[in-house]
Symmetry: D2
Subunit: 301 residues, 4 copies
């Protein structure tokens, strides 16, 4: 095999660029599962996030292939920009990448970027002592035709829900056994819950992932904590039973807190809130979701 | 604790049904990850599929909670129906369940059902000998307001793609080493590819999962096989290199074959085709997708 | 490309069989993630399980490759045997496959088979009404040198645990608020728990997966159920709080029930019991495990 | 509920510490899936890795529960140590944590720590230009009785394998079609391969994760790259076909390179090498593994 003569000329076969007489347009063509570090600098805090990135553009019916290596070049350029000088958020990274995709794929009328990363943040425990808690942070950006590019930032938070229905039914069914005044809440089933909120960040606005984490964390029956001294564990249990919540309640609480926290964001701002309880009394999960604009939520719908 | 007096009366606390002055409507509330067997009888073949089921309905702003146990009752009724007398397909199961959800949640204006299952089918190997190959089968059903219920059936198939671009570049770059006439195809990179097609099944039409499997299988560079004798392995490798394909080509081939196979399905029939290659030369995947109606595809868009 | 002349002779290149002067022996070589249906007939019940199968043999230092297609041939032969006449259990399938691997790989001194499948079983709900609940069933078989082949059967069950420690601490910390006699159990945190037991099945003995499911299900604070009427939900919640359990307690209860159920199984019988709680108050899980022989457990160690 | 009187005294219910007359010892009790950042400083490079951590200790038969919160305290102390002053590697983090677990669980005779993290490293592309590639890095530490604590470091790398057997068979079966001298390698199937090596790091020795990455990367048919210009893609394809490899070959190459790289590590040093190919011509994977001591590998076994 040593006899292979490698030609010195640069290969020029641009198979992707070939013309098709009768192809079909494709809605999204791209690469998924690209892992890269992105450096986020916000005020005094610098974080290097380990991101998983999916990017897509559309493809006209007349062109054989999308140039997938351009996606990686675009990703690398934005990654290097972030490592060199820091970016204010992964949604800004996603937006910059989305713009770059439209430029590099000159035939595209659509580009989409999705980014997720593990994220850590100091959170006060039940007794006030701060602790590093882990979260997931997500960003999206979409550019369509000549529309303004839309970017979104979101967080996924693990918390605890206690069931209000079981609590009431226990009271009705077994409640004659307890003195009802001056007593602790009834027993119920409670469980790990995974909730998220994803918010559009309109041009010239800013939405902080840290604020979204606080909003979701405050929407559970109780936040969860990695370290709990025994007496703090009791406080968390009591707290959860004083605020029993369905997945429906968690989503609605998130929506209410979003309205309070962002009174000035425009009505057309998109928001998705979601809550999933890994039910302790069932083998399946309970799920609730709202996909909406802020305007619709404001109108009480 | 033995002293607990269990009350004989049936608990009546319908916390879910409570009125809210100022809630928010919820887009989807339901249960996810329910596992149940569903019996499908089609012609002479009976299969019990092990399904994973997600179901959702919407919830008005004035109602505290969705009655999640009604979802399980609906699922169980449809499962029992299938075990008793067989259903012609899991999309029929999904549609029946969707209808039942609308009835049981009298406040709902929307219901959605998603079902996935492993699936086995006899497929001829490269030398014609049949073998049991594994697939994934999916179904969805959506009911909105008074619209006709939409149901969809889909399949996910594992196959093989060989890259046409690398093949051309190898030819250009190293091709002087070979006699070009009468020769084997050039080397390229090839890889595992996971492709799927999901088709709407309009009322009074029938779309067979088995046909969709054949369509997707025939759209790769080559199908894959669980058992390959050495000489069959060589045939598969040759076949894949004689039909090099990008993910874009796989999706377009699926679309073309769908048009051929279903010339009479109405123009508004929804179809989604998707292909993802676990690239052998990269750590990430290549992805292509078309989301469309048959009409748009027929028009050559 | 039409000019390719396919030779009529059968290819004979047995690259795997090539001699190596200086290789290294390999502990395990095989195929993973093979999906096949296996038919289990036990008494009056016939089930076709959708199995995921991993198989391995060792490889001497002098041989270049293991003949992986022989693994698939062995799998297919055992699958066909099961589809034709039914096998009494997936551990019998695993054992037959293990024996076949040793024969087909004449150079092997070791063979290992692992099988997992979803499994459904009618279980009585809290009010006695039976319901189809889902489980995971696992089997292993190992053959080493001329030792008797070892086969194992196991189950994975989802249940519920309520924390005994939080319950006590709540009582101490907030307990003066309640009249202590004649009262309901204290609130605690409770959660989804996934527990499993894996038992060796010595030659000429029989261990039923269904019995193992009953053992694990009875070792939680409470079993879980797919459908619960409101009053049944309250019963489950009460039951769980009357039997608060750490993951340690769940494993020990399983071990105790195994001793009771199998008094005659030989002392050298292997058993592994495991419990993992998806803690509702933490983002991480709690885990406990015992790997042992029945003899060691019987001796109270 | 406002009437709940919170007692000022610290809760003292140490349920875990309760004596059991007749329990069973437990092999491993602990917490899994704890996510924490760990700061690694090695020479001039500082990296904050996002780690997923599992920790376990054993539990005597006479003690009701393991104090799980001590595990989190131990984790937090080591995490803070790393964030404050940097640690030379995650295996040193694992070892420190393992020691701390033995101290905090005074009843333990065994402790085990497992850590995994995403990892990035500059690697030269086929044309020499460096690029950030992603890897997985793993560490383990085990302390048993009064034995010296064992610590291990490992890496998981994604690469590419081309099948030597298919290549030979293609040559035999279709080879008369090509002029055999002076030609390119035959076509074959090739695929994504995930390989790993895990090495014990004996006291007073050092094993660099970066070196292990180089070893595994050099053991594939070809490394993989996130960005490839067209001509580089052809080089990678050629390279892979010039070095066709079974999973068996990948493992043996890793072992050979480990022997070369670490001639002085003691014979009893543990090493595990593993390779899994996501076969492009099959729906299942091919797998090979060696679990051994350096001494056994050196002896040519």
């Amino acid at each position: 095999m040593a006899a292979i003569k490698v030609m010195d000329i640069q290969a020029s076969a641009d198979v992707q660029n070939r013309r098709l007489a009768k192809g079909f347009m494709l809605t999204r063509v791209g690469v998924t599962g690209v892992k890269k570090p992105v450096r986020v600098v916000r005020g005094e805090t610098a974080n290097t996030l380990f991101c998983t990135i999916d990017v897509y553009v559309d493809l006209p019916s007349t062109q054989k292939g999308s140039h997938l290596s351009r996606n990686l070049e675009a990703i690398n350029e934005e990654v290097e920009k972030s490592l060199r000088s820091g970016l204010p958020g992964i949604e800004v990274f996603a937006a910059g990448l989305c713009r770059s995709l439209r430029e590099k794929h000159e035939y595209s009328t659509y580009a989409e970027v999705r980014v997720t990363a593990d994220y850590f943040m100091q959170r006060p425990g039940p007794s006030g002592k701060p602790n590093l808690e882990s979260f997931k942070i997500m960003a999206q950006a979409v550019s369509r035709n000549t529309d303004v590019l839309k970017k979104m930032i979101g967080v996924e938070v693990i918390g605890m829900t206690a069931c209000p229905c079981a609590m009431e039914t226990v009271r009705e069914q077994y409640g004659s056994n307890v003195t009802m005044e001056d007593c602790l809440p009834m027993i119920s089933h409670n469980q790990r819950n995974v909730s998220s909120v994803m918010m559009e960040v309109p041009e010239s606005w800013d939405v902080e992932a840290n604020d979204l984490i606080e909003i979701v964390e405050a929407s559970f029956s109780s936040p969860t904590y990695e370290v709990l001294k025994r007496s703090d564990e009791a406080k968390v249990v009591l707290q959860a039973h004083l605020e029993p919540k369905f997945v429906e309640d968690v989503v609605r609480t998130i929506l209410g807190k979003v309205l309070e926290r962002y009174p000035d964001l425009p009505d057309e701002t998109l928001v998705t809130a979601r809550s999933e309880s890994e039910e302790s009394i069932h083998k399946h999960n309970a799920f609730a979701e709202r996909v909406s604009t802020l305007g619709d939520i404001r109108s009480g719908a």
